[in-house]
Symmetry: C2
DNA sequence: TATTGTTATACTCTATAACTATA
DNA sequence: TATAGTTATAGAGTATAACAATA
């Protein structure tokens, strides 16, 4: 096994390449898709909640949400219990975009996973995603 | 095990979060570090070679290399055998930056790998990086 | 004609700073 | 004082289009 610093470098450089490759596929921008997907499995989230979940600054999330709202994919309503907060929700359009375009976005990736990897490798990859999730939270 | 489309979505969303988290650490921009690192283990690479290796467009790589050159971290010399090509090389400053600042860039990540993961998990992660590399090449 | 590289331009993504409103 | 959110601005990262030079 590699030394830990070498593993860290390898991790950083491999991930940046894969993300670049994913971004190159046609479809809606991946950062936006991630927000729509998260809203689809969350209820009552505000800007700060979304920012924390996606590991970005609230200001960055506010701008992303504003753009999604401009495109009619999300809506915001005030939280009656805490008038500082706004609750972000998917619109019908947002849900449709997630369903249709979201599938298209991952068509290439799913195809690669099916063609290039076998069952055992996909299982290994899925387990590694749990580890990567822990790293992102650290 | 998840269905393949779900795994694809999980992969995309997990990786974007981890990369965000890595980018948030102080240090030189990770895209530049990746280029310096690659030059450190490559000889005779031109713009197109680097772009292909890093899975980005030659125009994007040309700009990145120009900025690295402006900062004195890489140099370019014409290829005597093919006058269209330029060969990109690390300067002494580039090598020093890679050594000193590069380590600093990955200090956080190496610390997380050491604290949060055990030997077996690090081994799993390393194997998964090979799979991710194959995905990036696909 | 195909390949290598360049410049110009624009879009995506994210951050910091400075601010308002509410708890 | 602390928290939720907003707007302005800037920087990092990458792409497409249009082009020149060489193979």
């Amino acid at each position: 096994m590699s030394e830990i610093p070498a593993l860290a470098t390898n991790l950083r450089e491999t991930l940046i390449r894969v993300v670049r490759r994913m971004r190159a596929e046609p479809g809606p921008p991946i950062a936006r898709m991630a927000i729509l997907n998260r809203l689809d499995r969350t209820t009552g989230a505000g800007i700060s909640d979304l920012a924390a979940a996606e590991r970005m600054r609230p200001q960055s999330m506010a701008q992303a949400v504003r753009e999604l709202e401009d495109d009619g994919l999300v809506s915001r309503r005030p939280d009656p219990d805490d008038r500082r907060r706004v609750v972000i929700e998917l619109t019908a359009d947002g849900r449709e975009t997630l369903r249709v375009t979201g599938e298209r976005r991952d068509t290439w990736l799913a195809g690669v996973l099916e063609r290039e990897l076998d069952d055992e490798e996909r299982r290994q990859l899925e387990q590694a995603l749990a580890l990567l999730g822990r790293i992102a939270e650290a």
